[in-house]
């Protein structure tokens, strides 16, 4: 058996050959699905919420509540970003359920997200302390390592958690196919019966639970670090 990276579907003839991989294709699919969902949930918005609008408002309230309680009232402006990353991460990881390769099983996707978070934290720090006050922090070389390790560890955490679930599900599927060909002979080899329902039970843990936890941890860490960065110095000493 073979575990490979995302397959390259084709290369664009212009711009020096940009590679369009499975990750890119599925990622755009996820974006289209999310836009469709948003269009569905926000069509016919009324003053008194009804039906599907209640669900959408519940989600927005949840995100704003989390941001306010974790990052503080001052950082409420990052709530749209948090909600976007949360939905994107969950939908990307859950795309494994329909049988495509999820975009989060590619370090490029999670690295892009954690880089956005990294720059968001830097911008928040500059906003809170001023540009030169922010630079003062880097006088200590250990702080530089600390700051640079954050995006690396965030990207690798999300990537490798989803990767481990993905590989386990692949292995279980292969083992079940092998088992059905052993038990049922040629019929089982042509039509792997055991592969039909049993992985669904395990997918509940590896796909649903895992991707929800990872999306939650990613937004939680973003909120915690932005909240820490937005603290002014004098307030910090009082705590």
């Amino acid at each position: 058996m073979e575990i490979t990276g995302a397959k390259i579907l084709f290369e664009t003839p212009i711009f020096g050959g940009i590679r369009i991989t499975e990750t890119t294709a599925v990622g755009w699919g996820v974006v289209v699905v999310l836009i469709g969902l948003v269009k569905f949930f926000t069509s016919r918005v009324e003053k008194v919420p009804r039906g599907k609008q209640v669900l959408a408002e519940m989600f927005v309230d949840f995100i704003y509540g989390q941001v306010e309680s974790v990052a503080g009232k001052r950082s409420l402006g990052i709530a749209p970003y948090i909600g976007t990353i949360f939905l994107m991460s969950i939908t990307s990881s859950l795309s494994a359920v329909v049988g495509v390769r999820p975009p989060t099983v590619d370090i490029n996707t999670t690295a892009a997200w954690s880089l956005v978070t990294f720059f968001l934290i830097a911008a928040t720090k500059i906003k809170a302390h001023g540009f030169f006050g922010h630079l003062k922090e880097y006088l200590n070389p250990l702080n530089i390592v600390d700051v640079l390790a954050l995006p690396v560890s965030m990207a690798l955490r999300h990537f490798s958690n989803i990767l481990s679930g993905f590989i386990l599900m692949e292995l279980i599927g292969l083992a079940l196919a092998e088992l059905s060909s052993l038990a049922l002979g040629a019929f089982g080899e042509y039509f792997p019966v055991f592969r039909a329902g049993i992985p669904a039970v395990l997918s509940l843990y590896f796909d649903f639970f895992g991707s929800f936890i990872q999306a939650f941890v990613f937004i939680m860490l973003t909120m915690v670090f932005v909240g820490m960065a937005s603290e002014k110095k004098e307030e910090h000493e009082n705590i």
Binding site: E2, I3, T4, G5, S153, L156, R157, S160, N161, L163, S164, I167, I213, F216, V217, M220, L221, V224
Partner: protein, 88 residues
């Protein structure tokens, strides 16, 4: 298969196994954290949701070292840079 290749492949497999020792510490740390969280919930059941959220974040942090070991093992097993370097 040449002798060189056999040695490199065997050493890579051993390295993959050894790198999974990183999970030992992560499991220990998560166990301690969960035990303390259970104590905290028993002492203050009304703070359960806040404790659970903090525990999740702490476990995610503790898991990171284990995941680095896991990544090394995966790279050694499936993409194997050392045998590729030897052949290419």
């Amino acid at each position: 298969m040449s002798m060189d290749q056999a040695i490199v492949m065997g050493a890579s497999a051993l390295g993959a196994g050894i790198s999974m020792f990183g999970c030992f510490g992560a499991g220990l740390g998560q166990g301690f954290a969960t035990g303390k969280a259970v104590e905290a919930v028993a002492r203050q059941p009304e703070a359960k949701s806040a404790i659970t959220t903090t525990l999740m974040i702490g476990c995610a942090f503790a898991e990171t070292t284990c995941l680095y070991g896991f990544l090394v093992a995966i790279f050694l097993t499936f993409t194997n840079p050392f045998t590729n370097a030897l052949v290419g």
